[in-house]
Point group: C2
Chain length 328, copies 2
DNA sequence: CTGTTAGCGCATTCAT
DNA sequence: ATGAATGCGCTAACAG
C-alpha cells in the first residue's frame, strides 16, 4: 500500500504538497497538481484515514445506538440520519445493544477512545447519570426515546399529544371501555402516551381504571397472550390503544380468537405505522411519525453540537393519526 | 484528555512501561504495574485507539454491508456476527446500502482507507469483478447472498434444495398448478430456489410453465399487486411458493381478496420464517434458516481470513421446512 | 506556491 | 524489568 511519501517521491514533490493537493487545503500550481494526481493514479494511492484521524483528532464517524434491528420502525429514522451525515462528510456506525447496559458501555468505549466523534441514542438502558456524565465530555443526542433527567438534546414527537389523539379517536367512535397496552414503564414514550390516554379519558368524563392498563414488551406474541388473559377475566372492553403496532396486531388477533370482532366489538389503535400495521387483517389504525425527519433532525443536532454550534435542548416533530379498518 | 505520556509522568515511569502494562505485551514488575494502574485511575486515562490503530496497522473493526434494516431476516444474522466478533475483540459496523452500488463503493473506502480490517456482505449490488478486485487485497466474505463468479468465501444454506423442499411440500399435498414468485433475477438465492422449484416439478412429472413464474421485489404490496393481476388472467393455480415471507403474505392476501381460500384453494409457502410469517392469517408455511449460525459462521470465516488462517471457499448451513396453516 | 519540520498517541525495537 | 528512541501516515505551522 502506497503512502503519501511514496507519492511525493514519485511526483518529485514533498509530502506536504501531496497532502495539499488531496485535501485542497491550500493553493497548488496547476502543473504540480497534475504531476501529483498522475503519481496518485500510477501508484493507486489511497490515503490512510487512520493517520489523518490521528493527526486531525477527529474521525467523522458517528455511533448510533439501536436496541435491535428487528424493529423496522427505526429503518427510516436511520435513513434520515445517514443522509444528513453523508451530506456533511460523516459516516454512521450502527451498533445493536439489545437493551443491555454492559453492551452499551462497551461500545461507548469507542466514543471515549476517540474512534467516533459523537453518539446518537435511539434506545438506551443507560441511566440519566451515565448519560450526563458522558454528555459533559462528548457530543450525544437522543432520538425518539429520552431518558428522564438526561441533560442532552433530544428529538421526538409529542407522545402525550399522540396518545391523547389515539384515545380520543376511540372515544369519538363511541368506545368507553378502552384498554391501554403499554410497555416498559421506564420508557419515556410509553409513559407520555399513557398520560395522553388518561387525559383523553378525563376530558370525556370517563373514569380511569388501572385494571385496563396492560403491560407487555412491544412484541406481538406477548401482546396476544396478555390480551387473551385479559379477555378471560370477562371484563368489559370495546376499544384498545396499544403503544406499538405489533402489540395492537397481537391484541387484535387475540380478540378474534376469543370471538370478538375487530372493529365491531373491539376497535384497535396502534402506534408507529410500521409495515405490519397494513399487513394484518384488518389493517391497524395507528399514529404515524415522520421517522425520516426524526433521524435527520437528530443527526443535525449532533453535528451542530460537534461543530460547537448552539443546540436546542429538544425538538418536537409532527405526528398524525392514520385511520384504517381496525378503528374507523 | 490524558495521554500515555501524562500517565507515565504521573507514575514516574516511561510511556513504554505504561504501554506494556496496558497491553500486557511484556512482563512488568508487580509494584510498577500497580503504580501505573493507580496513575491511570487518577487521571481517568483511556487509550486513544486511533493512535494504537495507526501504530498496529489494524483497527479490529469489521464492516457489514446490509441492504436495508427493514428486513428483519438479517437481525439474527447480525447477532451471530456480533457475538463472534466480540468474542475475538472485534467490533462490527453496519452500513445500509439500499442496493446502491455507489453507496457501497463509498463505504468500501473505509476498507481501502484502512478504517476497518474486513468486510462482510449480506447483500450487494457490486459485480463479481468489483468483488474480486477488492477481494485480492482485502478480507471479504459473503453471507446469504452470493455473487456469481466472485472468488471470495461465502456461507449460505442450500437454496436449491430448500426451493425443492418447498415445492415438493406443495406437490405432496396434491397441488399441481404451482405459481413461483421470485425476485431480482440477479440474486443467487432466488435463482437457486427457482432451480429447486423446477427440479421438484420435473421429479413429479409436472411440466414447467414459464407463465407461472412471477417476478416481484420481495415486498408485500408489490407481491399483492402482482398476484391480483395474475388471478385476473383466469389462469389455474392451487399452490404458490414465494422466495420471501413478505411476498407470500402479500400474495395470500391477494388470493383472499379475489375470493380464493388459503389454503383450501391456494396453498402458500414462503421463505425465511420471519416474524410476519406467523403474524398474518393464516400463518405462513415457510423455510427456516439458522440465521444466527449463518452470521456466526460468516464472521468466523472472515476473522480466519484476516488472521491468515486457511478458509474454505464456501460453507453450507442447514435449513428446514416449517409447516403452518397456509400449506398444511 | 512549495519544502522542512514537527507532532498527533501509541507500540515496538534496541539498549541497558 | 525498564527507558530512550523510532516511526506508523498524515496535516499544520513556519519559512522562504
Amino acid at each position: 500500500m502506497a503512502t503519501i511519501h511514496e507519492v511525493a517521491r514519485e511526483a518529485g514533490v514533498s509530502s506536504a504538497t501531496v497532502s495539499r493537493v488531496l485535501t485542497g487545503s491550500a493553493q497548488v500550481r496547476a502543473e504540480t497538481k497534475a504531476r501529483v494526481m498522475a503519481a496518485v493514479e500510477r501508484l493507486g494511492y489511497r490515503p490512510n484515514l487512520v493517520g489523518r484521524n490521528l493527526r486531525k483528532q477527529e474521525t467523522h464517524m458517528i455511533l448510533v445506538f439501536l436496541g435491535t434491528i428487528v424493529n423496522s420502525f427505526f429503518a427510516k429514522v436511520i435513513k434520515g440520519m445517514e443522509d444528513v451525515a453523508e451530506k456533511n462528510g460523516y459516516h454512521i456506525l450502527i451498533c445493536t445493544t439489545y437493551g443491555e447496559r454492559e453492551r452499551e458501555l462497551s461500545y461507548l468505549g469507542m466514543l471515549v477512545n476517540r474512534l467516533v466523534d459523537g453518539a446518537l441514542f435511539l434506545t438506551t438502558a443507560l441511566t440519566a447519570e451515565d448519560i450526563n456524565r458522558l454528555g459533559e465530555s462528548y457530543p450525544i443526542v437522543q432520538c425518539n426515546e429520552y431518558v428522564e433527567g438526561a441533560r442532552v438534546p433530544f428529538v421526538s414527537i409529542d407522545n402525550e399529544l399522540a396518545g391523547y389523539a389515539a384515545t380520543r379517536h376511540l372515544i369519538q367512535s363511541g368506545r368507553r371501555a378502552i384498554v391501554h397496552m403499554t410497555a416498559d414503564a421506564a420508557s419515556s414514550t410509553s409513559a407520555a402516551r399513557l398520560h395522553g390516554y388518561r387525559r383523553a379519558l378525563a376530558d370525556s368524563g370517563i373514569p380511569f381504571d388501572p385494571a385496563l392498563v396492560l403491560t407487555g414488551n412491544y412484541g406481538y406474541r406477548n401482546a396476544s397472550r396478555i390480551m387473551s388473559a385479559f379477555l378471560e377475566t370477562g371484563r368489559q372492553v370495546d376499544g384498545l390503544f396499544a403503544v406499538s403496532d405489533r402489540m395492537a396486531a397481537g391484541a387484535a388477533a387475540a380478540c378474534r380468537l376469543a370471538g370478538r370482532r375487530v372493529p365491531e366489538d373491539v376497535a384497535v389503535v396502534g402506534f408507529d405505522n410500521v409495515d405490519i400495521s397494513y399487513m394484518v387483517e384488518p389493517a391497524i389504525t395507528t399514529i404515524s411519525q415522520s421517522q425520516y425527519e426524526m433521524g435527520a433532525t437528530g443527526m443535525g443536532l449532533l453535528l451542530d453540537r460537534i461543530a460547537g454550534r448552539p443546540v436546542p435542548q429538544s425538538v418536537t416533530i409532527p405526528h398524525k393519526l392514520i385511520v384504517r379498518q381496525s378503528a374507523p
